[in-house]
Amino acid sequence: MEYAPPPFFKRGPTALARLVFFALLSIALIVADARYHYLEPLRAGIATILYPVQRTVLAPFQLLGNIGGFFSSQSALKIENARLVEQRLADTTNLQRLEALDAENAHLRALLEARARQPGRATAAEVLYSGRDPFARRVVIDKGAKQGLQRGAPAVDDLGVVGQVTRVHPWVSEVTLITDREQLVPVQNLRNGLRAVLAGTGNDGRLELKFIPLNADFQTGDRLVTSGIDGTYPPGLPVAEVTAVERDPAALFARILGKPVAGVARHTQLLVLDWQPDRPAQPPADEAAAPKRGKTRKGG
């Protein structure tokens, strides 16, 4: 412990000068991050240092969860087991039909000279935490670049699409949920094949179909699946169900609301797909780079 006298004459720059310096530095960082995305390596570096701290902080909660699981009663397990066996029987019949349909589909595609759709690889990941930022709907999962995750990969759970991997660090990644305001999913109505763009609203459990003409055939209860035309999501994954259709003749577009099929706000485990779409040959690099940034924001 030191009992140093206060430095009367040597004080360094004034507080205001320091504030101006650090404020300018922060604003430079904000601009560099928001406009030019220069700072991803720095962000990854800090995230790597932070990773053990986060694991340590989360450890007691995971332990509590494990203890809770240990004491789950035998009857509950038996009921779950019976349900799973039943489910498996139902799935087996479906699976057998699927094999036949797959073969038939491959044959028909060969006839049409279309390229086969690749099923791709999937990585199971656990949600570490979510919901700290009130401005965005994001979760952080426990898999990252070391496990082969890539930016832009779709994330699904057992019911449907959850979101998209938007930032990959070495051991963790961020998944932006489809309910985030800036997240758009190209979808297709399962009933009649109409294509649309589904946007998040920033509220859990509410999505909105954008720019649908008043007379378009959407009804309450329609199921929306990914159309796959964006090259991000594989086609045919369930996304949402239409919950309300409002047609105001004074408005330009119909107001169509939906709710996500997947447990977007409550899942603890999800699957990150590594899906490579069959893209046509890309134009030269300098042209391709320009429109890429605005895609998720403007969309449509």
């Binding site: 412990m1 430095p7 904000i30 928001a34 902080v57």
Partner: protein, 173 residues
């Protein structure tokens, strides 16, 4: 006019640097907890509160650099725009350093309003940056953590002083 009776002021022991580091790390750990559900109502920005406390108490030790670095760490942990918390904490540190003599001279219930104003300023800066970057106003509940932080100020001060109160008898163990 009679002079107002003031409680006797203790001369506290000097603070150990390790104590500052540990409290800041603890605040960071509290911020990194998986707050969700009902508990999110209890979540306040503990790092802002800790930075504010140390900038008021030890403005020569804890200042802009600490505040700014912790802001960067918070931005990475939240996956937010880089630098927004850094800017907010820098302004918070500035206000705390400039006002530290004033804040310390007030009794606790008046310090409450100072802290509330400073924490609100902190959140307003983050909010302004987010709105400028195209986000939507998340509702009035967004300011609730500032109120909670100001309520926590008095217990926090009492807690942080405890290890620094000198023993009445120096020979006592």
């Amino acid at each position: 006019m009679e002079a107002r009776a003031r409680p006797p002021q203790l001369i506290l022991l000097p603070v150990r640097p390790a104590f500052i580091v540990v409290t800041l790390a603890l605040a960071l750990a509290l911020n990194l907890l998986p707050w969700s559900g009902v508990w999110i109502l209890l979540k306040t920005d503990f790092v802002a509160l800790a930075v504010l406390y140390w900038c008021v108490d030890q403005p020569r030790r804890v200042g802009f650099f600490t505040a700014w670095t912790l802001g960067l760490v918070m931005d990475v942990a939240n996956g937010a725009l880089f630098g927004q918390h850094a800017l907010a904490y820098s302004v918070l540190a500035f206000a705390a350093i400039v006002l530290h003599r004033r804040i310390q001279s007030f009794p606790m219930k008046h310090q409450f309003w100072h802290v509330l104003a400073l924490l609100l300023l902190n959140q307003l800066i983050v909010l302004g940056l987010r709105l400028a970057n195209g986000a939507q106003f998340p509702g009035i509940a967004y300011f609730f953590p500032a109120l909670l932080g100001a309520i926590l100020w008095a217990p926090l001060c009492a807690l942080m002083r405890t290890p620094r109160i000198p023993k009445s008898d120096p020979d006592q163990i």
